[in-house]
């Protein structure tokens, strides 16, 4: 303890050691919250990676998530009177909940199809297309929500977390980690699988090679017989499904209801996570965890402020406005984009509509 006390008392760097000590102390407590907060951001970021690796910029992720969140909840409202609230299968999933979830994913794909059509076939500006999707999604979900919510109906409920046996949770040192990762609902478990699978496929499979070729040099890709338009359509639609998983998580797992604009910018943080994660699935997931930690730490400082030996740190962090931690992910992204610490380079053909050479 004396060594730690000595490190804590060092001028200036002592604060850093205090911060590390504080993080180690609180992390097991906030880990589940961080994990849950990172899920929608991670799905959004994966959607971004999926689209942009094929050369389609997607800032409509927010709109796709919002649509899926709404459809998942609203479909439940209509299905529960028909199918009832049972029987529960694994993860607390009733047939109504499963069908509503499937519809949510479909809705995300449909919205993505609109984006794909505008940006690939019409060759419209992809940023404008994404903006339209965001405005439309906010408008239509708000409109329908106001109509449906008049009778304050109940949806199909939510997915439940997987309860690990206590023997596993109580394992010293790593029990909390196992519980954080696996004592979760089906969407969190799906996220872990998708991240790993996506990472492997993108860099080790034929599909991944084609996707990257289309995103880097579509002309060359076409020359070797890859259908650029088809690859882009397919990737944007898969991206829509991924964004939909993030949206469905909000209204069908984290909560069991829909509020207007409930994504509150997570689609955009996802975009930031994609950039910070350098357009790779693993990197994007890591960045999502980092961003969620920033918010989690901001909360825990208010609930359990650093005290005792850590008083110096507590005074410093307490002086920061709590919104600082909300803004931190965005500030980090700006710094990285500006090339101050490392550069993040997008696929070369990102955002440029592809025009087939006219057949001879």
């Amino acid at each position: 303890m004396d060594i730690i006390g000595f490190l804590y008392d060092l001028p200036i760097i002592g604060l850093l050691f205090q911060l590390i000590g504080y993080l180690i102390a609180i992390f097991p407590t906030i880990a589940p919250i961080v994990m849950q907060a990172s899920v929608p951001i991670a799905f959004a970021a994966l959607c971004g990676v999926m689209c942009e690796r094929a050369g389609v910029v997607n800032i409509g992720i927010e709109g796709m998530m919002l649509t899926a969140a709404f459809v998942g909840w609203a479909a439940g409202v209509f299905l529960v009177p028909v199918l009832g609230n049972g029987p529960e299968l694994i993860f607390g999933a009733t047939p109504a909940l499963v069908i509503a979830f499937a519809l949510a994913v479909v809705s995300g794909v449909v919205v993505a199809l609109v984006h794909a059509w505008l940006s690939i076939s019409v060759r419209a500006d992809q940023i404008i297309s994404g903006t339209i999707i965001n405005i439309a999604a906010f408008g239509i979900t708000g409109y329908l929500n106001t109509l449906i919510a008049r009778s304050s109906p109940a949806g199909a409920g939510r997915f439940e977390a997987f309860v690990l046996p206590p023997a596993v949770v109580d394992v010293p040192l790593i029990g909390w980690l196992i519980n954080t990762l696996f004592g979760q609902g089906p969407l969190v478990l799906a996220l872990l699988v998708i991240v790993v699978l996506f990472q492997v496929l993108l860099f080790r499979s034929r599909w991944g090679l084609r996707t990257r070729a289309v995103g880097e040099h579509p002309r060359a890709a076409e020359t070797v017989g890859i259908d650029v338009i088809k690859v882009r359509y397919r990737n944007v639609m898969i991206g829509g499904a991924l964004a939909a998983l993030g949206g469905a998580y909000l209204s069908m797992d984290l909560s069991a209801s829909f509020q207007q604009g409930m994504t509150v910018g997570r689609g955009f943080i996802g975009l930031a996570a994609m950039i910070v994660g350098r357009w790779t699935p693993l990197g994007a997931f890591g960045a999502a965890l980092l961003f969620a930690s920033s918010v989690g730490i901001g909360q825990s400082i208010r609930i359990v402020p650093p005290a005792g030996e850590l008083a110096e740190l507590g005074a410093l962090l307490g002086a920061l406005p709590r919104q600082f931690f909300d803004a931190l992910p965005y500030l980090v992204t700006i710094v990285i984009l500006a090339g101050v610490i490392g550069r993040s380079v997008p696929p070369a053909a990102d955002g440029i509509p592809y025009e087939r050479e006219s057949p001879a």
């Binding site: 910029v57 800032i59 019409v122 408008g139 406005p321 700006i334 090339g339």
Partner: protein
């Protein structure tokens, strides 16, 4: 006759897009009513649009309210439109608006009892405009120096602005003893009301600024440089212009316009700010700039349309029972048809109105860490 035809080629697409949006909106109203209540009410769309129109232009008060709603949209639309002209996409009007509003309140509340009020008014509008310009300068200088794309930077800055407003309003500017964070009233620094209950002088300022921006863009060397750099940066460089300098100036000016929108909004409408001060002006401005085809005169008309929709939305909800959010659906639909213009043209056999934003223009080239533009 020739002139008439030219005007028609220019406004045909926006007009048809608006008509198509009304049709889509009617279908949305009919289908959603059928789903929710199980009844097919064919009169409902007519009632809704009638209420929307009478709520926006049906009485002197309604017209004043429409103009008040239009004012920030004109300035915001000019902000986005000017950036478009320079080949930049300013998604950051939202953040620049908020920072402008915050600076205006910070300064305006200092002058809340100062006489004559015109001093506080001018100083706080200047503060808001400059703060917005500074907030637009950041993505401009980052793009010029490191090539970081303004779209992502401004999206991030929008969220930073929301946090900044919340942090400043709930700490430095908070009125002690208030139940929830809120600033003081701007008092004598407020914009004088000229018409009716809330028709502040800002509704005259915005069109004047639009004319000034039009003059700047089309009658000055500086505007020529902006338009050249936007149309073809390579050509601009060969002609001895500096694309870097133009980027920084255009983004700063765009930020200043959005900041002024925020300044006029708080000095003319809200008079104070809360920690959760929110707005949709930034994103509506993108729609306004696109519908107005980035032209200052077009932007005034587009802003009037969207201002009228915002102003009439409440009446539509109260009188026809159609949720006010329908306005968002209409806006998105109008934009959709504008962007998918090549398709709309084919359907209606329209001629193209020269090079514009509608012909598969791409502003959003590779983003992230691109290359910085080369110096002249």
């Amino acid at each position: 006759m020739n002139r008439l035809r030219r005007t028609w080629t220019l406004i045909a697409l926006p007009t048809l897009s608006i008509l198509l949006a009304v049709i889509v909106g009617s279908i949305v109203i009919l289908v959603s009513e059928l789903l929710v209540s199980g009844r097919l009410r064919l009169d409902l769309p007519i009632n809704a649009f009638a209420a929307l129109i009478s709520g926006s232009i049906g009485s002197p008060n309604a017209i004043i309210n429409t103009l008040v709603q239009t004012t920030p949209l004109i300035l915001g639309g000019l902000s986005v439109g000017l950036a478009f002209k320079a080949g930049l996409f300013n998604i950051g009007a939202q953040g620049q608006f908020l920072i402008g509003a915050l600076a205006t309140v910070a300064v305006g509340t200092q002058f809340r009892t100062f006489e004559p009020g015109i001093v506080g008014l001018l100083v706080s509008i200047a503060a808001g405009t400059l703060a917005g310009a500074a907030y637009g300068f950041i993505p401009g200088i980052l793009k010029a120096v490191s090539g970081a794309h303004e779209v992502v930077i401004t999206i991030m800055l929008n969220f930073v602005a929301v946090s900044t407003v919340a942090a400043v309003v709930s700490t430095i500017l908070d009125v002690p003893g208030s139940p929830s964070p809120i600033t003081l009233d701007v008092g004598t620094a407020a914009l004088p009301v000229l018409f009716g209950r809330n028709g502040h002088i800002g509704i005259l300022i915005a069109p004047i600024i639009a004319v000034a921006i039009g003059w700047l863009l089309f009658r000055t060397t500086w505007g020529f440089e902006i338009r050249t750099a936007g149309a073809n940066p390579e050509a601009a460089r060969y002609a001895g212009m500096s694309p870097r300098r133009i980027i920084v100036w255009a983004m700063s000016l765009a930020g200043g316009l959005a900041g002024m929108a925020g300044a006029i909004e708080v000095l003319g409408v809200t008079k104070h700010m809360t920690a959760s001060y929110g707005t949709t002006v930034g994103f509506d401005s993108i729609a306004v700039a696109l519908l107005g085809r980035t032209n200052p005169v077009g932007i005034i008309f587009a802003a009037l349309l969207f201002g009228a929709m915002r102003s009439g939305a409440a009446a539509m909800q109260i009188q026809a029972g159609v949720p006010a959010e329908l306005v968002g659906v209409l806006q998105a639909t109008i934009l959709f048809f504008i962007v998918a213009s090549s398709v709309v043209r084919r359907i209606f056999r329209l001629r193209a109105a020269g090079p514009g934003l509608d012909e598969a223009t791409t502003i959003s080239r590779s983003y992230g860490g691109g290359e910085a533009p080369r110096a002249a």
